[in-house]
């Protein structure tokens, strides 16, 4: 599998600004070649609806073991609670807050034992998520293409 990711952010002085307005003053976060590709070992893409006050334990990708790094990304238009259990049995609990206009996102890369999503609200929520097994990543890792875009702009 070939995997690419890109994050892009921009600050503009008013809400009507367009993404095409890019390129004024740039912050210190580097803006580099937009493409990076890296072979990954397995992934899950899914969307689920979660009824009010219910939880679900996510299926992790096939062949995932908790010595691997897992890239995890979630998006919701409601409020969800994400509980991640680490291999050392410690847990991380985070509320993710989104609306239909401004979905909430949550993204990280770490070793995990389990991921539980809870809907604490009084309405059904829809969640999109991706779980990707990262390949070993070190200074000898070879990449196709260049580095990764991470641009942040201010007016």
């Amino acid at each position: 599998m070939i995997f690419a990711r890109r994050f892009f952010s921009k600050l503009a002085p008013d809400s009507d600004a367009s993404i095409s307005d890019l390129g004024v003053a740039r912050w210190s976060m580097r803006d580099v070649d937009p493409n990076i590709r890296l072979v990954v070992d397995g992934e899950v893409n899914a969307q689920l609806s979660l009824a009010t006050v219910t939880s679900v334990t996510l299926d992790l990708p096939d062949d995932y073991v908790n010595t691997d790094y897992l890239f995890c990304q979630f998006q919701t238009e409601g409020v969800m609670k994400v509980t991640v259990t680490n291999p050392d049995s410690s847990t991380s609990v985070v509320l993710v807050s989104g609306t239909s206009d401004t979905p909430g996102i949550y993204s990280f890369t770490q070793k995990v034992t389990s991921i539980v999503i809870n809907n604490p609200t009084a309405t059904t929520i829809t969640i999109g998520y991706q779980l990707i097994i990262m390949p070993p990543l070190d200074e000898s890792t070879s990449f196709r293409g260049g580095a990764q875009t991470f641009g942040m702009y201010q007016p």
Binding site: R5, L11, V79, I105, T109, Q130, A147
Partner: protein, 145 residues
């Protein structure tokens, strides 16, 4: 002044090698191509840290219920892997129960590690280094109500 923060976190997966990784994505069915937040305050910091170092990110003029957007990038020195995590102290949905987030990432200069989080009920945000000689860049903002 209010600002608009556009954020596109994009993951693309292909079954075959492709020449343009940005050209298509079945993930767009799940993830919006463009997320747009209006933020009315924000803070940007660059930190050079060693393992065990921590730094509290203070957003002035915010209250617990404010939605916040946090973006962190970490790289290691000399192409080594840099590890870091964000530690959040927050209240659960009930507004009473304390919850703690330990959100990890790792990356290199060529493949930086990122954390993105849209959250609320957060009272404290700390950046913690998990390896030596890392550079962390963090953007923390209050999303306009």
């Amino acid at each position: 002044m209010s600002y608009t923060l556009f954020t596109t976190p994009e993951i693309e997966i292909y079954s075959d090698n492709v020449t343009d990784p940005m050209s298509s994505s079945f993930v767009q069915a799940i993830f919006n191509e463009l997320l747009q937040y209006e933020v009315d305050s924000y803070k940007v910091q660059t930190l050079v840290m060693d393992s065990g170092d921590s730094s509290t990110i203070t957003l002035t003029g915010t209250v617990l219920a404010n939605r916040k957007f946090i973006l962190l990038k970490v790289v290691g020195a000399d192409r080594a892997i840099g590890h870091a995590h964000i530690l959040t102290a927050a209240k659960d949905y009930d507004g009473v129960t304390s919850i703690v987030g330990r959100i990890h990432t790792m990356g290199t200069e060529l493949f930086p590690g990122y954390i993105l989080l849209t959250t609320y009920n957060v009272s404290q945000i700390d950046v913690v280094a998990d390896s030596d000689d890392i550079e962390v860049q963090i953007f923390a903002s209050k999303i306009q109500a």
